[in-house]
Symmetry: C2
Subunit: 424 residues, 2 copies
């Protein structure tokens, strides 16, 4: 079938004409389709058999970015990157990504499990819902997908062959531009709260900060450390109390591990700040903010613990053969190597997380947790704190030694904000 | 033609049956062929028309590594990497690599200019021959091939497409093993001067050194900074007083720039040390050693100057759009970014150069300049100094600020060696 964007009508014919998909439903099923995409670049259909209850999701790539109309052409090949990474996640971290049922390269679509008992994580976090298993799930997802695709586990050949399958220039370009570049210079698509004009201008004229951001962009572009999801914010996570699924992996490529970890932690921090508006009651607010900061701490500790445990269990990668450490003091040296490797990931996490925090405040892509605050003054409280924290995470990252150092910056900025509220 | 290793007889038939090659010689030419390869993994034929004077070189990949017999299978695809990189060098740095006339993927061979007025650089340097244009040529070669393939010049898309064409796992594996790993642990193919047993053991048990070497290996494996030659020692350089040509680029892939610069500088240092044996007269020796150290200094300065000049002239790469620096103080910030970028290359140069210096003393691959010293005691003088310098280049690299810091280490170790000779 030649590529054509599907509609709620044609998607049903598509399924009926594709044996592997048709077989998923009874022959007489009166399928219903609904387009539910709220993304910018894809169509997302939920197809259901109202009688039988079986349902699937079809995600189809559009050849342009919706948010900017037809003017931003996008390669449909991204669906291939999403499909192959989802299949890999199903292998490496079973149960933490949707199952994939089918894939049609020509039509640029992937057919997968309908996660109708899950919801995108942002809104429930704004509603102060708690997810007791999330830290465990997401740290497992990151530890396993990142470790098993790194030079710590793979042979050099296997890693490079995988890397070749994930040369993903068009999707990388979106992050290169909109995470690391355009938000920090004049660019017409940028948007920010007019109340923050001074802060935004200060970021764009902060030489040391901008030098650090270029270093982070260089690492995003050239540090092929592991197969990263590369868009792992809370809008790419579907969740319920029992279950966590990572979706939307079309940006996947070989990049720095800290970019993924940074995305998760940074989005939790932004949600935490959003409660200055969403949760007016100070005690209620403070309690949930603590909950989120504890979650940040736990995610890092669990990620680091699981990553290191996998390393010790599968110490077979090209980077360092086990025998390399066979000398007097070698065991301690290997432990020190692991410590430094994880410390570098922590510092990258702060750097990349900081960039992404800033870009959400002054680039084209906002963050729903905060952009949903209607009152500009109220919104500015969270935004101003985010700019301060993002800036400090970037500039101070080489002095960070534990995740508590990252959290301390958040707490200091929150305290200074609360002091101002009390004594304006 | 199905792959078969050519001989001095069959190579002539090969040429006569391939129109593009046959046309290079008169129809009646009585071609003569000679196999001149001294490498470990390839056949190299010189084919001449004794009457007309026209001659070409055919380099054909063998499917195994000669040095270890059939036991080390090697992909013949490496000839494709060599061919495409030589063609690229002809574009980016005209006149500094041999011309390519033909390429036969199935036969794993490349046909190129016969550089019969050039010689491999090692022997003439041992004979204290001077090459007044070399520093200019090699710095131009490195500045142009490295800058024009980096994110400083290319769009993200062009860089990643080029990178995909140079995913070269088999050849990378050779350097990963024999530069960064095996020499620093027990591995049966390692060889070293028995007089240096203590020094070699000390390297293999130096935890801080080995931690640093893993960092350098990580950057070799995962820092896709530019298309590097990846074997740019003085055995890969053919030279005469007027002309310099870089050959043997089958290791080419996207790696750290300092690996190439380090290879050139390190090999000049090893040659410099070899004169403790090759040049017994102290005045003559000292004069040539100074000449080489000056050459090291000039190569770095010229490389850095040309690299930065290209950057200023073609400031169009994905990494930093010129507009990013449009702010009060932005020009100074851009200058600072260039300074730090080049400083990082200098430090990488010391690190990678240091690893390569060490591996030549205690791995499977020796260096002719020094291995040709027959007397073990004499050889140990140069080798011991090389181990000290290599170790210090690696361990002290983050404190280096100019190339003079690298050279000062060499001079200190040479002085200490000379003091010992005077007062043993």
């Amino acid at each position: 079938m030649t590529y054509q964007a599907l509609t709620e009508t044609t998607v049903i014919n598509y399924i009926k004409n594709r044996p592997a998909l048709a077989a998923m439903f009874p022959p007489q099923a009166q399928l219903k389709a609904q387009e539910v995409g709220d993304g910018n670049i894809n169509l997302v259909f939920v197809i259901e058999d109202p009688a039988g209850g079986q349902s699937v999701v079809i995600k189809q790539a559009l050849p342009f970015m919706r948010i900017l109309g037809d003017s931003w052409p996008l390669t449909r090949a991204r669906i291939r990157f999403e499909t192959q990474s989802l299949l890999l996640y199903n292998e490496l971290a079973p149960g933490l990504a949707p199952q994939v049922y089918d894939h049609d390269e020509e039509m640029s679509l992937v057919v997968m499990e309908n996660l109708n008992r899950h919801e995108i994580m942002r809104k429930p976090l704004v509603a102060r819902r708690r997810f007791p298993l999330f830290a465990d799930h997401i740290s497992t997802f990151m530890a396993r997908t990142l470790f098993f695709t790194s030079d710590l586990y793979l042979t050099g050949q296997a890693k490079k062959e995988l890397q070749a399958r994930y040369i993903n220039p068009h999707m990388c370009k979106i992050q290169e531009d909109f995470v690391f570049t355009n938000p920090f210079m004049e660019s017409e698509e940028n948007q920010w709260n007019p109340l923050l004009k001074a802060e935004v201008q200060a970021v764009r004229a902060n030489a040391e900060l901008k030098l650090a951001i270029v270093d982070l962009k260089e690492s995003y572009m050239a540090h092929a450390q592991a197969l990263i999801h590369s868009d792992l914010h809370t809008g790419s996570i579907m969740i319920n109390e029992h279950d966590t699924r990572v979706i939307d992996s079309e940006f996947a490529f070989y990049g720095p591990i800290g970019f993924d970890v940074g995305a998760v932690l940074e989005n939790l921090i932004l949600n935490c700040l959003s409660h200055y508006a969403h949760t007016p009651d100070p005690a209620e607010r403070s309690e949930f903010q603590h909950y989120l900061l504890d979650m940040v701490r736990t995610i890092w500790h669990e990620f680091a613990r699981k990553f290191e445990a996998l390393w010790l269990e599968h110490n077979q990668g090209e980077l360092v053969p086990a025998r390399y450490w066979t000398f007097e003091g070698g065991e301690a040296a290997f432990a020190e190597f692991r410590r430094r490797y994880l410390l570098n990931i922590l510092r990258d996490t702060a750097g990349h997380g900081g960039c992404k925090m800033l870009r959400r405040m002054m680039g084209v892509v906002t963050v729903w947790d905060i952009s949903s605050i209607e009152d500009g003054q109220q919104r500015a409280i969270a935004e101003r704190a985010a700019i301060k924290i993002g800036t400090r995470w970037i500039l101070e990252r080489q002095q960070f030694n534990t995740v508590d150092d990252l959290i301390a910056v958040v707490q200091e900025e929150m305290k200074s904000l609360e002091d101002q509220e009390e004594h304006p």
